[in-house]
């Protein structure tokens, strides 16, 4: 897929809770197609301690408003700065980067498991599956009720189940403890903290379910040239930014 570098315009920047915010960017040109699981690299050039771009998943592409949505967690210097960006500001972005979640077989039952800000790529995936006439089940986990984000948006594409660690919403516990997992799914897609994804991978392996996980890694270039972002796979070191971020868990050398 052709990659672009362009200055996108902030159209909205909405705090979702004290840690997360939703950033909407638009382009003068029509945004190109972006696949679920792909990411963008955002330049943060007004921040003295940030040097490299920041990788962020494509949360959603709103074709009607020509908007790219990013769901961002304020975690350090760069995302902190991003949270202050205001409508009208120009932001230099490289997009779309990386591979994507694979298309499941028609009429298969699909489970999308997200944890924390890892829910980000699953919204676009929901939209994508809908276009393929597949209605997925979402299982979204967070620490607490206020960290469960965009539930109404997810609900547009499938049934949403939730867990919170403190039990303030949905089932109490971790996603891998949710009762919905007693059902049988054909395919699982997951994104979230590594321990969560490893638990999901273990569940999938045990139940012989095909599973794809979207990984993170420290990235310098995002386009496969620096070789900084490797993941150990059965095929050796592969770049998360080009061979991923989505990997089939059977290709990963995860100790689970």
């Amino acid at each position: 897929m052709k990659k672009y570098m362009s200055d996108l315009i902030v159209t909205a920047n909405t705090p979702l809770n004290n840690q997360y915010f939703l950033l909407k960017l638009t382009s003068k040109e029509t945004l190109p197609a972006m696949l679920p699981g792909q990411f963008v690299e955002v330049l943060i050039d007004d921040c003295s301690n940030v040097f490299l771009r920041r990788p962020l998943s494509v949360h959603f592409v709103d074709k009607t408003s020509n908007e790219l949505w990013l769901l961002v967690q304020r975690i350090g210097k760069g995302t902190e700065k991003m949270s202050t960006w205001q409508a009208g500001q120009l932001v230099n972005v490289l997009y779309p980067l990386g591979n994507s979640f694979s298309v499941p077989e028609k009429q298969s039952s699909v489970l999308l498991i997200g944890g924390g800000v890892g829910v980000a790529p699953l919204l676009l995936l929901g939209d994508y599956l809908k276009n393929k006439a597949i209605v997925p089940v979402f299982l979204l986990g967070a620490r607490s009720k206020s960290d469960l984000l965009m539930l109404e948006e997810f609900a547009k594409y499938g049934t949403v189940y939730t867990t919170t660690e403190d039990g303030t919403y949905g089932e109490k516990g971790f996603v891998t403890q949710h009762s919905i997992l007693q059902q049988k799914f054909d395919k699982i897609y997951t994104c979230g903290p590594t321990p969560m994804m490893k638990a999901v991978a273990a569940y999938s392996l045990k139940n012989n379910i095909s599973c794809e996980a979207s990984l993170e890694n420290t990235m310098a270039c995002g386009i496969g040239v620096c070789l900084c972002c490797v993941q150990d796979t059965t095929d050796g070191h592969r770049c998360v930014c080009t061979d991923g971020p989505v990997f089939n868990i059977k290709d990963l050398k995860w100790q689970i």
Binding site: K3, L43, T218, V225, H237
Partner: protein, 303 residues
Amino acid sequence: MADLTTMLGSLQLKNPVMTASGTFGYGDEFADFIDIAAIGGIIVKGTTLHHREGNAYPRMAETASGMINAVGLQNKGVDYFIEHIYPKTSAIDTAVLVNVSGSTIDDYVATAEKIADLEHIPAIELNISCPNVKQGGMAFGTCAASAYEVVDAVRKVYPKHLMVKLSPNVTDITEIARAAEGAGADSVSLINTLLGMAINANTRKPVLSTVTGGLSGPCVKPIALRMVWQVSRAVSIPVVGLGGIMNATDAIEFFLAGATAIQIGTANFIDPTTTVKVIDGITSYLDANGYKSITDIIGKLEV
């Protein structure tokens, strides 16, 4: 419009802007963003005799105005390069150079020998300065005698343009440069990365799997500029300058300091169009200041 044609000894480049090894892949990764044939020279990823998996991850730490990498020369080996990559790089209408790395002199020689046969590779850059490999690498480049030895051995088997990439992790870089020149190098390029380290205070662990790694980016520019200035006054062969170049102004500083050509490294990660912007910016600078050719400013620092 000023003439950017650059002669590195007998190696002609359409302009003096090259890409630094390990930061530009094999070129085509940038084709969506720029016309890669517009670049003066593309130096591909460090290539070794055998396939290397490189270091474990994490391999990267961001630092103030820079980054540390610990890639460790991950590459599929020279034979894979020749068979699978060379056919593609041959199609690029500009000079494509191979950065040759190794752990032993025999490795360097064997790799260089294989590349010598490739019609569309007019030169190699001999990397005697990689800080990210346990054996060899930087060790060759931090001592004049061993630098001489490896350059001399490669020189014997490699008849085309031999560029030697120097390490900044030395007390006196002019000494190493002179050793390379004495052993028959056609040019020297500098600097490779500075040995650095990053620690995560929260986890109390090194950020990199290898503890230390190579520092690059604008943070090292003052050191690179100083070394280019020192080396260009110490040797007669052309000097290729790099280290932290982010824009045309940075590049011009290197030319003034004595560089005949420059390389863009880490900047490619921040802005994949940096190379062509720098080329355009150099032309504008020369035109605005009434220079006819890039050669008019090389080493023209008024001290």
